[in-house]
């Protein structure tokens, strides 16, 4: 850690990990409700648990992105953060707003929450992933503006690196696109059309810029490869992201009342969306193979490589599986979508946040560069447990999805939804077991912060070669 103000990131990372645990616990509740339908009913109905699961995910990833920005921006800009005080203040505002919102979901019926928060004045609630009360959404905008001001002032008055610039573009895009969450017309087709400008253009657009810049930063630091090389790759990757991803939005416009031509535009461009992810994989392995030093924090390098591979598998391969219109006609809105969602979010965004946490945390906790050997070994165990179980969750959901599509939509005598759900319940049980293994991995991950904290740090000479 080169600048004192970088340490505000620690708050954000701790909160992110805490909310991550909450997200997984609610994920397990959801998984159980899939097979034991009345579990916790009517206290926590499925829709409430799902809201908590997805909203916690989004919020903790945002905490992770903000923490990443607070950590890497000063180091890249070679100056202290514009205002560490503002960063701390916004942290508490965001955390309290987020906590109140989640408590609101859990403690009162959703419709009462809507009444309480004056949803009728500007109705924005009740749409997938954008369930937050309007006032929370406004809070998010305020926090985002304050955050961008703080980061922007730091970047613009310091050394302007590509990593910082790309990160800033991504974060500004994130904030600007979020404004479409306030547009909620009565016309269902237009509602859906612009809802995707938040959801798709986030995860298959500007978030990838954030992902790319965080990954590039960690690779610069851990491999010692020339910054010029890494920055050039970064530009090409994010160029491909937006070139394919913007018109790729069309893969959401096949069946929602929009014109037929989207089937062509959407299929062609979203079929290319795996390219930037593939390039990211090539890039990450290429840089690590050409490393000029063995960084002692091997756990961070493992997370970085894992991000590249899993993002390609989850977002690239599993996205491509069902993105072509003739396939999507059958798979749209089935468990196939859920399978893709789980691996893509974990592979791309969960893992990149864990990468930067893994890299930055040891230094913010007073180490030179890395944790002790015991801590790193435990963290790597958690890496493998979580990653392997998300692969299995994805495989089981894919199995469930294929059967569902066949029984409900493709076979001679299509069966009703609920009947099909019972027939595929074995896959849901297997998914739940994989989810439990994921939880074990997560517990080990948290434990890795407390294990071996008095042991000596891994020294550079000791570090094993990551690819040997």
């Amino acid at each position: 850690m080169q600048y004192q103000s970088q340490s505000v990131a620690k708050l954000y990372f701790v909160a992110a990990i805490g909310l991550f645990v909450g997200q997984i616990l609610f994920g397990l509740i959801l998984g159980l409700q899939y097979v034991i339908g009345d579990f916790l009913f009517p206290a926590i109905p499925f829709n409430v648990a799902r809201m908590v699961h997805t909203n916690l995910l989004i919020v903790w990833l945002l905490f992770g992105f903000m923490g990443a920005a607070y950590y890497l921006v000063p180091e890249e800009a070679e100056r202290e953060l514009f205002s560490p005080g503002l960063a701390k203040l916004l942290f508490w505002v965001f955390l309290i707003a987020g906590a109140l919102t989640v408590l609101g979901y859990l403690l009162v019926p959703y419709s009462s929450l809507a009444d309480l928060t004056g949803n009728d004045l500007l109705p924005t609630m009740g749409r997938e992933f954008l369930e937050q009360p309007t006032i929370t959404k406004l809070g998010i905008v305020v926090v985002a503006l304050g955050f961008l001001f703080n980061i922007g002032m730091t970047i613009l008055s310091g050394r302007k690196t590509v990593v910082n610039l790309v990160l800033l573009i991504g974060l500004v895009g994130l904030a600007v696109l979020f404004l479409f969450s306030f547009y909620n017309p009565d016309n269902l087709v237009n509602d859906k059309y612009y809802w995707w400008w938040v959801v798709h253009l986030w995860v298959e657009g500007v978030w990838e810029l954030i992902l790319g810049s965080i990954l590039a930063f960690v690779l610069i630091k851990t491999t010692g490869v020339d910054r010029e090389v890494i920055e050039k790759w970064l530009y090409v990757i994010i160029a491909m992201t937006l070139i394919t991803g913007i018109v790729g939005t069309g893969h959401h416009y096949y069946w929602i009342g929009t014109p037929e031509y989207w089937q062509w535009w959407g299929s062609v461009f979203s079929a290319m969306e795996p390219i930037p992810f593939f390039m990211m994989t090539v890039f990450a392995f290429n840089m690590v193979n050409r490393r000029r030093r063995n960084h002692p924090n091997q756990a961070a390098v493992l997370w970085a490589l894992g991000t590249a591979v899993m993002a390609f598998l989850g977002a690239g391969v599993w996205g491509f599986l069902h993105t072509l219109a003739p396939v999507n006609y059958y798979t749209h809105g089935s468990q196939i979508t859920a399978a893709h969602g789980h691996m893509a979010f974990y592979g791309a965004y969960v893992m990149v946040v864990l990468t930067i946490i893994s890299y930055a945390m040891p230094m913010m906790r007073g180490r030179q560069a890395a944790n002790s050997n015991r801590s790193q070994v435990l963290e790597m165990w958690s890496f493998w447990l979580m990653t392997v179980s998300i692969v299995f969750i994805t495989l089981f959901l894919t199995g469930a999805g294929i059967l569902q599509v066949y029984l409900q939509r493709f076979s001679e005598n299509p069966m009703p939804f609920m009947m099909v759900q019972e027939k595929i319940s074995l896959f849901y049980w297997l998914r739940e077991i994989a989810g439990l293994v994921f939880l074990v991995g997560l517990v080990l991950y948290v434990a890795s912060f407390f294990v071996g904290s008095k042991d000596p740090e891994v020294a550079v000479e000791q570090a094993a070669s990551p690819t040997a």
């Binding site: 020339d226 050039k232 090409v236 160029a239 394919t244 037929e260 062509w264 062609v268 290319m272």
Partner: protein, 197 residues
């Protein structure tokens, strides 16, 4: 994967950082979008031959022919521009580039008139499958021409300012390559969409 080998490239590593793999993936991607669209067009046409033939007859083949000539001429001018800068004749190179821009603009004018005609008749993307492909393909290419013109214009200005000479003119070569790609795509598009029965 030659460029992945650091030993092989040590000498030029500073001036030409490896990354060519990246740009080739990019160019391949650009071409494959067109290739997929062309394949989709051919495939769909096989299923609706009568419809495609009927509406193909409404296209203005004469304009398209002029446009083909305009693009080929522009490509020729661009070739001359590259040749000129290789011999250190920057002023001539600049003039050839501007001539290329002019031919590109001519293409836009002619194509624009065609579009105006179609739109006046109420033709839209959703009118029928043929027009969907015709408008999608040509408009996608149209935008590439606009981008190509911008690239050529920037190069012309910079050539005029003396940024390039015989020793250093990779930007011009790259821009020229891009323009040739745009031209090449049209040379496939024109017979496929306008002529072939």
């Amino acid at each position: 994967m030659r460029q992945l080998n650091p030993l092989e490239r040590q000498g030029e590593a500073l001036r030409y950082p490896p990354g060519d793999l990246a740009v080739w993936i990019f160019i391949l991607a650009e071409l494959s979008v067109f290739a997929i669209f062309f394949a989709a067009y051919a495939f769909t046409r096989m299923q609706h031959v009568a419809l495609f033939d009927q509406y193909q007859a409404t296209l203005d083949r004469t304009s398209a022919l002029y446009n083909t000539l305009a693009l080929i001429t522009a490509s020729y001018f661009v070739v001359r521009a590259v040749a000129a800068i290789r011999e250190n004749r920057a002023a001539q190179s600049r003039n050839w580039l501007w001539a290329g821009v002019g031919m590109g603009l001519l293409f836009l004018v002619i194509k624009g008139a065609e579009y105006a005609h179609h739109f006046a008749e109420g033709v839209r993307l959703s009118t029928n499958t043929f027009y969907m492909f015709y408008l999608s393909l040509t408009f996608f290419h149209f935008m590439h021409v606009i981008l190509g013109i911008i690239v050529l214009a920037v190069l012309a200005v910079r050539t005029g300012q003396g940024h390039y000479d015989a020793a250093s003119h990779t930007d011009i070569e790259s821009g020229a390559s891009y323009w040739h790609m745009v031209d090449l795509v049209w040379l496939i598009l024109f017979p496929l969409v306008y002529v072939m029965h």
